[in-house]
């Protein structure tokens, strides 16, 4: 999920950039050096995962996965997402330099929120964990859509229609990400629970 170049106003671009820099700095600080390989290789896995297309009806959407990134990497999500966006722009031309900050905030802030809100839930027993995982997938995309709408609205009041459409258009994606994240978290808890931060038992 990203905003194109050329759309946003200067103040929005600059505050996005500043927020992203701060988040990335915190994230880097929280990754001590024996976690570098872990965060790096997992970021690569997220990058590949976000290329997966799933069907909805006759069309298909690609996964966003920022909720999963947050649940697995915590604050590390900020640098991980920044890096993924840079790689996307280099390899696929999704956006350039000026929107990098805003797009990082749009994706990473919800990821970190999910880590704090849903992270404790997914460590619980099955049914609560499932609710937490669904919320993680759903909420992260919802919040990203809201942030995206906000960036548009603060640029130009007349964008409110587009902003509302952004949120509406992502509703099915939210549901799918929720479902995917339920199955994915249950998979991880069964197969390799050590991958979840602060997981015990």
């Amino acid at each position: 999920m990203h905003i194109s170049e050329g759309v946003l106003s200067g103040p929005v671009l600059l505050s996005g950039g500043a927020l992203a820099a701060a988040g990335t700095a915190i994230g880097l600080k929280k990754i001590d050096y024996d976690r570098i390989a872990q965060v790096g290789v997992l970021s690569a896995a997220f990058f590949v995962g976000s290329l997966i297309h799933v069907n909805i009806g006759p069309s298909s959407v690609h996964l966003i996965l920022n909720g999963m990134v947050g649940l697995l990497l915590g604050w590390g999500a900020a640098p991980a997402i920044l890096i993924a966006l840079v790689l996307q722009s280099l390899l696929f031309q999704y956006g350039g330099i000026t929107v990098l900050g805003v797009n990082t905030v749009i994706m990473a802030l919800p990821a970190v929120i999910c880590y704090y809100v849903c992270g404790p839930l997914i460590r619980k027993k099955t049914s609560i964990a499932a609710v937490g995982a669904f919320a993680g997938g759903f909420l992260s995309v919802f919040l990203s859509a809201v942030l995206m709408a906000a960036a548009l609205f603060f640029t130009e009041k007349n964008f409110w229609g587009v902003a509302a459409a952004v949120i509406m258009a992502h509703l099915p994606v939210m549901a799918i990400e929720g479902v995917i994240s339920v199955f994915c978290i249950s998979f991880l808890k069964k197969v390799h629970p050590a991958i979840l931060p602060n997981y015990s038992g």
């Binding site: 200067g10 880097l28 290789v41 896995a45 640098p79 007349n158 998979f187």
Partner: protein
């Protein structure tokens, strides 16, 4: 398959110091993004189109990459002129086309295309690892650069793993559809990728330890300053100065 199409080449741009390229691409992009006057935007558009020539980009490939932008542009051209508040310049039944909407669409299009073209010409023409080391020399933290390079390195390994798993589900008769079975299967593939990535990361970390890693990052890149870099810097500085002048001191 993920490919760095533009990175291979031997144009004048390819041979420039990557630092110079990163700095000017960034300055140019922000200047364009923050400009609103049409003379500035036209000039910037012209400069970015001209930049493609010395970079010797494959035009067809460049066009393909602009296509991701095309659908977005089509959408705003269809929506903004109608939904904007402003002076109606044309009326078609219930639809009123507003001048301010059209102006904004034109601005967005010019900005977006210019920024993406300069990005392709100056940044996509370098290897990603070169970019990593360049950022490091431009004082981006070593930890971030190292993360960036590891991510980049393992994308290809993991994409291979993903493709083999895709093949495995395909030969067992899987067809993706809109149903729980499909979503579950995708989620499991994803989970498998994460688990394997995490376990691989442990081995990578061990391999780093075995080679004496103790938390410091080093870079090997070295570009010597040359006359070409100086000339390019002078040209780009002049271009940026002109654009700034046009934008902020209208005649």
């Amino acid at each position: 398959m993920i490919q760095e199409t533009f990175a291979i080449g031997d144009s004048i741009i390819h041979r420039l110091d990557p630092r110079v390229r990163v700095v000017f691409a960034t300055l140019f992009s922000f200047l364009v993004a923050l400009s609103d006057r049409f003379p500035t935007l036209y000039a910037a558009f012209g400069i970015s189109v001209l930049m493609i020539i010395p970079a010797r980009l494959d035009i067809r490939e460049a066009g393909k990459r602009l296509k991701t932008l095309f659908w977005f542009m089509l959408l705003i051209w269809m929506v903004l002129p109608l939904t904007f508040e402003g002076d109606t310049i044309y009326r078609l039944g219930v639809f009123a086309v507003k001048r301010q909407g059209l102006v904004l669409c034109a601005q967005i299009t010019l900005k977006a295309v210019s920024i993406l073209l300069i990005f392709m010409a100056l940044l996509s023409t370098m290897n990603i690892n070169t970019l990593g080391h360049t950022l490091n020399r431009l004082s981006v933290p070593g930890k971030l650069v190292h993360l960036f390079l590891i991510t980049y390195r393992y994308i290809f390994v993991i994409e291979e793993e993903y493709r083999r798993l895709r093949t495995a589900i395909k030969i067992r008769g899987f067809k993706s559809g809109t149903n729980l079975h499909s979503y579950k299967t995708h989620a499991y593939l994803l989970g498998m990728l994460f688990v394997r990535a995490s376990i691989r990361a442990e081995r990578v970390h061990e391999a780093m330890l075995c080679r004496g890693f103790h938390g410091r990052f080093y870079s090997l890149d070295g570009y010597k300053p040359s006359r070409k870099n100086r000339n390019f810097s002078i040209i780009m500085t002049a271009a940026i100065a002109c654009l700034t002048f046009i934008e902020y001191y209208p005649i």
